[in-house]
Symmetry: C2
Subunit: 153 residues, 2 copies
Amino acid sequence: MESSRPDLAALGEVYPRYLNAVVLHGLATAQALGMGPTDLYAMGALALEGRLTSGELAVRTGLTTGATTRLIDRLEQRGLVRRVLDPEDRRRVLVEAVESDGVDLDAALSPARRNLEAIFASFDPDQIAVLADYFARAAPAFRAAVEEIRKGE
Amino acid sequence: MESSRPDLAALGEVYPRYLNAVVLHGLATAQALGMGPTDLYAMGALALEGRLTSGELAVRTGLTTGATTRLIDRLEQRGLVRRVLDPEDRRRVLVEAVESDGVDLDAALSPARRNLEAIFASFDPDQIAVLADYFARAAPAFRAAVEEIRKGE
DNA sequence: GTTAATATCTGCATTGAAGCAGATAATGAA
DNA sequence: TTCATTATCTGCTTCAATGCAGATATTAAC
């Protein structure tokens, strides 16, 4: 975050703290729910994608397929997730989030959601567009960084 | 992220994916370094604060003091951290990051840093100001959410 | 100076996450 | 059909992270 551009220096002040807070929030949420951070991440991925195969979950989490089976077991036992056999290829198992049951998960995430909504509401449309642009580009940037990190093992 | 304001709808599309990517990045980084997510978070907190007492680390991580002692042990054994007795109160142990040693940690974080710098560089000063404002306010929002989540146990 | 409170550490035990290797089942190719 | 490949699961084992309760050392209060 070091830069010769003075406007970027402002980011150097606030951005690391912001990232740290996001990470902490993820950890604390997992703690509060009594699950591991990986399990919580998997739930997030499922919420975004709707359904993922066991293998896709393994790739995303960076776990072996065996460990992923156990991860799905844990989520299933909590009623957060359901296994569905893929009709296209019956070797595959589709995992999908169970909607109405995830009350505790929603509850755990709601304080952050509420606080963030208040912040977003204070920006005007042009500013929201800037933020949305940033989020849209930062997400793949982080994912690319993950791939790069994983390659270097 | 539901909202009647149409400009906020754009955030609902991108923001959850963004957060998920950030969380994934934290997990993958910890995996790559062969440490737990909590340990990595602690390193981040130390990088930001310079030094923290063992007790402060316990509060931040949400661990018991005993578990925090072990966390510090792990970081110390890796040479990432140093224990310093607080001269003001010799019961306390100050923990501080060891600078030049954390090469692997820096290396693991550098892909994300590089990618993000490229993104930030594409915004003009006004836009950077918007982003900086968001980061500055979102960080305490997340921390407040963490406290709220923890209270509800 | 004695007692209480605070900060950290230690021993012990538990639990859970994960890897690995082999088993099972389904698909695809020859 | 037969063989190879792919996707998931299971049994077994290991290791790390954590909690808890008690020990120690330091400070603060009376």
